[in-house]
Symmetry: D2
């Protein structure tokens, strides 16, 4: 059996009934307790007893053999390549983030940051029937990807003020929901300012600073709500189905692949946004 | 007719049919446009065309004659004193803030700051069936008021770490919802840290700084949502009804009154939390 | 150890760590699978793999020894009598039904049927801060109980049209939420007609007919939503806490008790609403 | 100016600033009061003071001159034909009905009845990112239209039991949401039975009987919620935008047109589902 995890491709020998050698699967990396209050109320992703494979102290997926319970395997249909299946995990995060958006058909959205999660958020918004979608991204090749994956307008924040532009494009109304997938110096405040009255800001990205200076005044004046995203919560099957159904929409995102021997180079390229890299796939 | 507004008592001659001289009314200070998107979707409190009497540029209520449309008058039943009716406006804010809490019977709550809004939030939580309610407040007389109005535990943050205490009291679970009615240096981060997984933080207070340093990491790990409150949204009638029905619960909060001639002293006492002041009433 | 279940009191010898002989507990009768889609999304009460002790094919609680997993035991504090603890199970149902009501402070409600579940719904509404509460009940002694437990108005549907009265009492507006705890011939349609525009009807009772004739036209004109209740979903702890905290409110409901030897008489009395019976307790 | 309303095309002379003779507009037929409780809370569609042009007592749109306030005119972009613009009104209903569905990306749905509203519901579901969509419809030409507009499976209820089929297709789980756009003898109960645990049934169609026999037992066992739809609520702009953006998806639905002189024939054909009629347009 061959599996496809996040940024990795794994081979494994399995004893689960119903699975045969050579079967391909997405490997869900989180193990939940199923009995704490978070699990009981359907929020497994914040289970305090979670074990997340790849996190410090837990083995990751860049190895020959992985031991997982059956429910963590999701079969990949033959029509989907392993390269494309590596998008299941980040796409599940994007789908999860949309659950906070309470999107209605035609709602407008802005996505700050067009890295892999931002791009998948844009595609998910498009598939969920969003109207206009603004993407804000300093790197030109990512802005291009953003447009091909569903953004109706792209903004280079180094050249233009993204908040001014979004407000001007919307007659000063702002957009229904803003996703901050960048979590950089100013982005969360841009999100707050670009949201409409009673709009929603979804913070998908992870700020590297402990204290993030937030403008509370526009949040208050507009009664904007701020939601936070922790990975995903059983959205992997929906992600897989979307990838199968709309492969062409997602395909442009997988721009590079490297063999396992070059894993360090692969990580380095991704970190430095080199060579127009969208999603990097590491292969066995 | 005599009216009771926020921190003021006003007399007025009115020509509205259905009203007679000597009738008493609460005067709603906000005038909405009723036709913008915010109004059309039921969010009048964020109407961009709002006129708020008392705000810079608009006359306030400390004067002999006020001109208001009929829908801004809410009659005060004879059983309620004007002193107590001055709580309608801040109580409406507390009730409005509870709409973000999605409270279920027995849910736990913490309220940071036990000034007038914090105290009314505590009382509202009690009336809404909250279970344990923690109040965090540095002033001793306010902690006493908090207890009399419904807090099951009070914490002096100068003496003890409020987050540690709430987490310890709840077996490290945290509370279902935290209201930050103080909006001081650390309080919003206390709120974030004291909330349970998938808990809710409601920011009712108004920070005086433009940039508030927020700890986004615990929000993300717990998927805490942060809601912001702008005054109230047609909750004045409910507030008035609650005051009539539960006068004894609210009465202890009105601790002082001053005649109009001493309005400067009244404001100064309130600002400096002098003499154990809860709610100060200014009388004609 | 002695336990208190629904309409029964059970003694049991237990081997669970943390429990000693003589401890008293509420015995949760439902066993869930914790892994199906319903359980994973927090809806254990509709788990298709549920085993419900007392249901056909599963032993009930009227016996000397019951075998249950530890998570199905909830300790009863010393301050609460076993008689009162028998209300945990039906009170949990009432609390669960309120989760569909999206009650706001001061919201009005009507409760159709003032049997045990209806009475506990009334008390729960009162504790959750409902404003006026109408109870509709043909039996005089139950109407009295309804009033003592929180109803602000009681209606005998044999004497007066309950819908007309509720509409007339509310200026033809109707109430925010109606609970049909009776599920008799006309009650669900009364509920639909007594609800305000965009109001909510919660069907807690169980209709004995397979096909219930429903008036869909007023539901459509008012965009009323109809919710259905299946028992409760982990609300037993909240129920227990409410019983401890507000014992006096609930106490009047337990009107009768019978020894196990007279269990047939006890059931018969309850079925025939004899002798002003509220909640009947069967004792070992 | 030429306008496009529901099943009609109207020409009018207008004095509104910003409009010129020859401009084309969708004419919203509902006039709201903007000040009642329903309007204030954002539910204009259930405004008790509504005037709905075309309803008994109010003039309709099949005439030369219509007098409407400016906010009831929505300009039609040049790229959209008047024929296609006649879908704004029914599409707004479909979009409104989706607001009750709380659809998540990939959710499954069934639509009962593939008349104009059912077809537009299918298309809206597809655009909103639904996964599999079952359409149940006895007429063959409508089943074909259903498939072309987004249904992934179509069922002829005269040939096969639609509930059995949907349950079998979903491994007995049922679908996340069912829209009953038919409101015929059995359809609402089919909807209830085809919904998954904690699923949602949206009753968009209008039953012609006063009392509809409803199976409450499966609703209760599954805790299914039943929502009712009254026309639409300010969704016309979103509908117009969707028609412009996805004209090709909607175009197959407009199958026939007749001149005003043949309006009786047009209505008769629509009533008798003659000649494979989808949406019939009446032209001046």
């Amino acid at each position: 059996m061959t599996g496809a995890g996040s940024a990795s491709t794994v081979s494994a020998r399995v004893a689960h009934p119903g699975w045969s050698a050579g079967d391909r699967a997405f490997l869900e990396p989180a193990l939940y307790c199923y009995h704490c209050e978070s699990c009981r109320t359907g929020h497994h992703n914040v289970c305090p007893n979670i074990r997340f494979l790849s996190n410090p102290g837990n083995p990751g997926f860049f190895r020959e053999c992985v031991n997982l319970p059956q429910e963590n395997l999701i079969g990949i249909p033959g029509s989907l390549s392993l390269d494309h299946a590596t998008m299941v995990e980040p796409l599940a995060v994007a789908i999860h983030s949309l659950t906070f958006a309470e999107l209605r058909l035609g709602d407008t959205a802005a996505v700050l940051g067009a890295g892999p999660i931002g791009l998948l958020t844009i595609a998910s918004l498009k598939l969920a029937g969003a109207g206009r979608i603004w993407a804000v991204e300093p790197l030109a090749h990512r802005r291009e990807l953003a447009r091909s994956m569903g953004a109706t307008a792209v903004i280079d924040p180094a050249a233009l003020d993204p908040v001014d532009l979004i407000l001007s494009d919307t007659g000063q109304r702002g957009v229904d929901v803003v996703f901050d997938c960048a979590a950089k110096r100013h982005t969360t405040n841009w999100a707050i300012r670009a949201a409409r009255n009673v709009g929603r800001v979804v913070l998908t990205g992870i700020h590297s600073e402990i204290l993030v200076p937030i403008e509370t005044s526009p949040m208050r004046r507009k009664e904007v709500a701020l939601f936070n995203v922790r990975r995903s919560n059983h959205e992997s099957e929906a992600a897989l189905e979307m990838l199968v159904r709309h492969t062409d929409l997602f395909a442009p995102m997988v721009t590079h692949s490297r063999p396992m021997e070059s894993i360090a180079e692969a990580f380095s390229m991704s970190e430095h946004y080199a060579d127009g890299v969208g999603k990097m796939v590491v292969k066995p």
